[in-house]
Amino acid sequence: MSGAIDDYVAALRRELAFDPALASRLASEVEDHLRNAAEADPAWPSPEAERRAVERFGLGREIAAQFAADAVDRQARRTWITLAVTVVVTFVAMRLRVIWLDDGAISTLAPIVDRYAFIAALTVGVIAWFAFRRSLAALAVCLVGLLASIAAGIVRADLFANGAPVHVLLSAAGEITLIGLLSFHVIGLGWRLRRTALLRREAQ
C-alpha cells in the first residue's frame, strides 16, 4: 500500500509532466525532503508523520505553477534574444540587397513591404520591450512584420537577381533560419503562458 509521501510524489510528477527531466529530478529531491521531514516528526514511524510532512510541503499544483512561471520567464528571454538577432540580420540583409540588387528597375510592392513591414516590426518590438515584455500579441506582430519583410526581400532577390548569386541566397537562408527559430520560440512562449495560467487557476 502506498503512503502519503508516495502519493504526493506521484501527483507532483503528473503536475510537472510538461518538463519530464525536471519532474524526474524533482521527484527524487522532494521524496528525500519529505522522508527527512517525516522522520523528524515525533509521531514517526506512522502515516500521521507522513501526512504532516506532506501538509507542510504545500500543494503540488502551486509548486508546479511556480516552476511553470519560471519557464515562461526563460522562454520570454530566449524569444527576445532571437527577435533582436533576427531584426539585426534582417536589417543587414536588407541593406545588402540594396547594394547588390538594381532597385531602380523595379516597380512592385515587394520593396515597400520589405521596408515598411520591417519598420513596423521594429517599432512594435521597441515599444513592447519597454512596456509589454511578456506580451505574446506584441511578439506575434513583430514575427509577422519580420516574416513579411523577409518574404518580400526574397521575392525581390528572385525577381531581380535573375538566377540569384550565392551571397544573396546565403543572406536569405540566414533570414529564413532565424525567422523559423523565432516562430518556434513565439509558439513555445504561447504554450507556456497557457499552461502557467491553467496551473494557477487549478491551484486557486
Binding site: R25, L26, D32, H33, N36, L59, E62, I63, R74
Partner: protein, 116 residues
Amino acid sequence: MLGMEAEMLKGHLDAIVLAALEAGPAHGYAIIETIKQRSAGTFDLPEGTVYPALHRLEQAGLLSSAWTTPPNGRKRRVYSLTKAGAAALGERRKAWGRFSQAVETALGPVAGGGRA
C-alpha cells in the same frame, strides 16, 4: 492563506536561500530548516516553495548542485553557492540594508510628536 510575513518573504526568498547556503553546501530540507532556525520560526512558508527558488538560482548560475549518496543510502541533491552567487548575496545584502533603513525611517515616529 499566507500571513503578512510569508507574503513579504516571497519577494526576498532568493536572497534568503543564498544566505542559507553561505555556511556551506546543503540539500533542500536542510536549507528550509536553516531558514526556519535563522528566522526563529517567523518565516514559515510551505516547504516546497524553496525548490522553485533553488532551481531558478541554479539556472542563473548563482548555485551549483550535485547528487550525493550519504551513509543512510538515500540519494540527495546538494546545493552550493557559486562565486557569482556569493557576489550576488553581497549585492543583495547591501540593497536590503539601504531599503530597510529607508523603510524604518519612513515608518518611524515623527520627532517632536504628532501634527501641529
